[in-house]
Amino acid sequence: MPAQIEARSASFRLTPDRYVPALFLAFLLVLPYLLPNPFYVHIVVMMAIYVMLGGAWNILSGYAGQLSLGHAAFFGTGAYVSTLLVNHYGISPWITLWFGGAAALALSLPIGFICFRLQGPYFTIATIGLAEALRLLVLHFREITNGAQGLTVPFKGNAPWLLQFDSKMPYYYIALALAAGVLLVTWRMERSRLGHYLVAIGQNQDAAEALGIDSTRAKARALMLSAFLMGLGGVFYAQYTYVIDPDGAFGLGLSIQVALVAIVGGVGTILGPAIGAVILEFFIQSTQILLAGQYAGLELMVYGGLLVAVILWRPRGVYSWFERMYTRILSWLPSFGRTRA
């Protein structure tokens, strides 16, 4: 009889590390309804988008240390391919979403093939250059891409099958789902053989090769995944903002922002991009409010400054600090449920 009592009482125990994430998830689900006006919903949608983009970047650059500053190329490709398909053929964005991702993935093959022949900073500059070259090409072929004016998604009001909604709420939930998806993919990848191999390559590529790791192939696969997710982000962004242009979609500014999200939050971790996205979007909104968009270049100057500051003082990002805080807070919280006598 004592054994039975023990079995029953050991089965139900609600510890902070279980209910806090669950509460947070619930919070995320009701968040839009808690916010006073659509502007704030817009902010959290942007946060979710940045989680997605930063998370996508993190897969290759965070884990394997191959720092790409040309990821905008994948974002822009997804956005443009999808929008062109929607505009010219009337295909539903729910479908062109995957075309956009696939196009970005296809692009990652030649880009990886070229860039992986270079190491370290040279790899990074090559990615910058290739994204720049793509931007120039998109600007150039204006019969297809409408050049510097960019593309617009024709506004159809509330049309869910065209991924257009009256209110911001549905966008929020889709963005949340996409962001969660990216984090989930990161989690699966991290635990897989590829995930381990990427870390090894990032630590010491020669040693990794000597252990049988085909570093080029591993990097290529990570890049494909990263590019695909980035492309999805581009499609969603196009649908959300209705307007895309070469400078915004393929520009170095975007590539830097995306990298910054992961760096500030913590590269090579699952939740790093999520933390970084929240911080960065907060930062962006604050600077926009403070500077009121008055001075050209001031905003970007601040990003540059942020980049430099982070590198000088917190190159690993805030993740470890966050983790410590979180663990400490958890330890203060009570647990529920029956305990053994």
């Binding site: 240390g65 720092l67 900073p121 070259a133 600007l139 270049g297 001031l298 990003y303 980049l307 430099v308």
Partner: protein
């Protein structure tokens, strides 16, 4: 297309190659000694251009004369950058290096944008339109002067590196930091010198092209990307390689502009990089 048009583009390309070689040399100098791939290098060019422009605009100083001011100014700037921004991250991983220099690049570009606006600036000098006409080909003299100026500076630099003690010390640090320390060379001083010199050369390149090139805040990006292609194509560390590569790149860009359009020059240059990485990954001077 007429032969003369083709020759025109060829000559323009060759003349521009001198400038690209100068910028690439500064980049290589910094990388060779300090081991930092300076993505902000294009901004040194841009700053050189703006200094030259404002000296002309405010005090009527001739661009070539103002080199005497531009170069020392950029030298000091380079020294400051090394001391306060590069020095702390010398031992840091690649990520720090890249993002520091990219961040610096963004800051400088946007400071220029903020201070000087995005307006395209240009200088009007009496010799700005001088040209030699040979057959159907027009050689714009300012371009020729820029080429000769670049050549001169490269020559002076070579003499400095090979004939003076400091120059040799610089090369020693580039070759082997530890051993040069044993020889009593202070590497930190050499780093300051290297970045200062690299910046001065880039600034000079900027000053030399102001008579025929528009000045605007983002002008530097193209230069650093092209310089980077030159360095890779020419094989990291090879001087002859860099010279040959800058010729190829200069001509390719020029011909690319001729055939594909003025907005695709950079695309052609990057096409060269792609081809080189595929067919000759270790560069022109490397063994396959």
């Amino acid at each position: 297309m007429e032969l003369s048009t083709f020759l025109q583009a060829l000559i323009t390309g060759i003349l521009m190659a001198g400038i690209y070689a100068l910028v690439a040399t500064g980049l290589t100098l910094i990388f060779g000694v300090v081991r930092i791939v300076n993505f902000a290098h294009g901004e040194f060019v841009m700053l050189g251009m703006y200094v030259t422009f404002w000296l002309w605009k405010l005090w009527g100083l001739d661009p070539y004369v103002s080199l005497l001011i531009t170069m020392p100014l950029l030298f000091c700037f380079g020294v400051l950058i090394q001391r306060f921004l590069f020095q702390p991250i010398l031992r840091a991983p690649d990520l720090a290096q890249i993002f520091m220099t990219v961040g610096l690049s963004v800051i400088l570009m946007n400071v220029a944008l903020f201070l000087f606006t995005a307006d395209f600036r240009s200088v009007k000098v009496p010799y700005g339109e001088w040209a030699w006409r040979l057959g159907g080909v027009t050689v714009l003299l300012p371009r020729l002067f820029a080429f000769l100026g670049a050549l001169l500076l490269a020559g002076v630099l070579t003499l400095f590196l090979t004939k003076t003690d400091i120059g040799k010390a610089l090369r020693a640090v580039a070759q082997d930091r530890e051993v040069s320390m044993l020889l009593g060379i202070n590497p930190n001083r050499m780093y300051l010198l290297a970045v200062g010199l690299g910046a001065a050369l880039a600034g000079a390149a900027g000053g030399l092209i102001v008579p025929f090139f528009y000045v605007f805040p983002t002008v530097g990006v193209v230069f650093v990307l092209i310089a980077f292609v030159v360095v890779i194509l020419g094989t990291l560390g090879s001087v002859q390689g860099a010279l040959l590569a800058s010729l190829i790149v200069g001509v390719a860009e020029s011909l690319g502009i001729l055939f594909a359009g003025s907005d695709l020059g950079l695309v052609v240059v990057f096409g060269i990089l792609v081809a080189s990485l595929i067919f000759r990954p270790s560069g022109l001077m490397g063994s396959r």
